[in-house]
Amino acid sequence: METAVNLWPLLGIAVVVAGFLLRAHPVLVVVAACAVTGLAAAFPVTHILESLGGAFIKTRNLPLILLLPLAAIGLLERAGLKEHAQASIAKIRSATTGRLLTVYLFVRELAAAFGLTSLGGHPNMVRPLIAPMAEAAAEARAGAIPQALRYRIRAMSAATDNVGLFFGEDVFVAFGAIVLMQTILRAEGLEVDPLHMALWGIPTAVSAFVIHAWNLRRLDRRILREAVRGNGAGE
């Protein structure tokens, strides 16, 4: 290319990588990366601060989606919403680990697609409910399961929550990612309807469900092999 492109701002990326590898406080890493990037681009200090401040004000719409429902959700939590949701999901009895997690994947992805991202999560759903149920389903089939398989089932429970959340929530029009994309594209002079972005997320959301459900079937087959081996050893 003929025009000189300043590659120094890439140092900002290096700061982020180094910061996380050194396990520094994420907020400090972000601010340090801001400082390094601005200096590498040869901006004066006041210009960097003004850029940060302007951007901080301009992007203050992003946390609204997290913050606005808190009062209502907090009240419902106090009144036992999570306990109720847990009891309701626990009623879906299924014979295998894979099928149980596929049902959870379906519910999690669908709920997230309707903006109900708080109906799940690692501390309040996966650890107390989903992972123990998944382990119990495997034990019911294969008897005592090896520790490595037990860890794999737990890891798959956490993975299922992530996959359902990520690929469901982006289909919901008021999700932060859609607002972010709209803001970024608008800054570049492209006006895009959030409904269209949510709509064109659906093919990927369906693919994610199919691929992950297939992986959960593979987990079931592994448990079955373990069951056959266990029975063979027992006889």
Binding site: V16, N61, L68, P69, L70, G74, V126
Partner: protein, 317 residues
């Protein structure tokens, strides 16, 4: 017209309440600095564009320093004991789901049916921020319903919101600050530098290669940054807008939607996304802290391939 400024004001007041409640909470070992942190954040929402950019920049740095040296702490949570919550859940049953469902329902109604409603020739809902404003109305409706069903006061709602904000702590501002970093990256030309490096090595004259470079670039950059929100502006600015939209005339909505999902494939593969990948491994007492990432690889990699194919096939829709 219901504008987004109304909700900025509400959120500002909520943070101000969080600051005051923390200041008065003697169970919080860092009550003054925590109150200062939330008070400064309240200023961002209450002041808005009236704040000089320089002051807002200094304010952001001050908040980051307060959080970075662990001066932002939660007070003692005054949640109800679990038996009380179970009893309440048994008593209220499915009624509890009504306010929770009101948020998405009102949001959908606002952003579709009420989209073009006008009063005295002025739109009812701020058209530039339609979904956010619809969701804000949904949140207010949900709070009203929740107060009605649980016989609580709105003030109790504010207390509960403060409890949740306190529990999340500085994590509330991390996505906001990452977005600032993303904009600064854009201004400093990081996207251009990345695009320069990428286009220097990859021939963009093949549409399939351009689609692949875009999706894989999103995923790789997210692996590095740990957050799709930071990757999106850089790769969309570097490849998506100039190459896919500019050269190949792709539909920006398809480019954006599939691009963001490619970034999420990266989120599934990186320890940088600690909240999703490393914290659960610790929570589930797994000896291998990367066990969740390893469980996610067989989903993330084929899905990234599927995204490339989908983008290639759907980009002209």
């Amino acid at each position: 017209m219901i504008s987004i400024d109304f909700f900025y004001l509400l959120v500002g007041l909520l943070f101000a309440a969080t600051a005051v409640m923390n200041l008065r909470d003697r169970s919080n070992p860092r009550r003054v600095s925590s109150a200062l942190f939330w008070g400064l954040y309240a200023l961002v929402y209450l002041g808005g564009e009236r704040l000089p950019p320089l002051a807002a920049g200094l304010l952001m740095i001050a908040m980051a320093l307060l959080a970075g040296v662990h001066l932002v702490r939660p007070g003692q949570a005054q949640a109800l004991p679990e038996e009380a919550r179970r009893a309440s859940a048994a008593r209220l049953g499915h009624k509890l789901l009504v306010p929770a469902l009101a948020i998405p329902v009102v949001t959908m109604i606002g952003s579709t049916l009420l989209k073009d409603v006008t009063i005295d020739l002025r739109p009812l809902l701020d058209p530039k921020n339609l979904t956010l404003v619809s969701m804000g109305c949904g949140a207010i409706a949900a709070l009203a319903l929740a107060c009605f069903i649980t016989r609580a006061t709105p003030l109790q709602g504010v207390r509960e919101a403060r409890r949740l904000i306190d529990a999340m702590g500085w994590a509330v501002v991390l996505p906001h600050m990452l977005a600032v970093l993303g904009l600064l990256f854009a201004e400093a030309g990081v996207g251009k530098a990345v695009a320069h490096v990428v286009t220097g090595y990859i021939p963009m004259d093949s549409r399939l290669v351009a689609c692949a470079a875009f999706c894989i670039g999103m995923a790789l950059f997210t692996v590095v940054m740990g957050n799709g929100f930071a990757a999106f502006p850089v790769i969309a600015g570097g490849i998506g807008i100039p190459v896919l939209v500019g050269m190949y005339h792709a539909n920006p909505a398809v480019m954006a939607a599939i691009g963001m999902f490619s970034a999420y494939c990266g989120t599934l593969m990186t320890p940088m996304a600690a909240n999703f990948n490393v914290v659960p491994a610790a929570l589930l007492e797994l000896p291998d802290k990367n066990a969740v990432i390893k469980a996610q690889l067989p989903t993330a990699l084929p899905l990234l391939g599927a995204n490339i194919v989908l983008l290639y096939l759907l980009m002209y829709q």
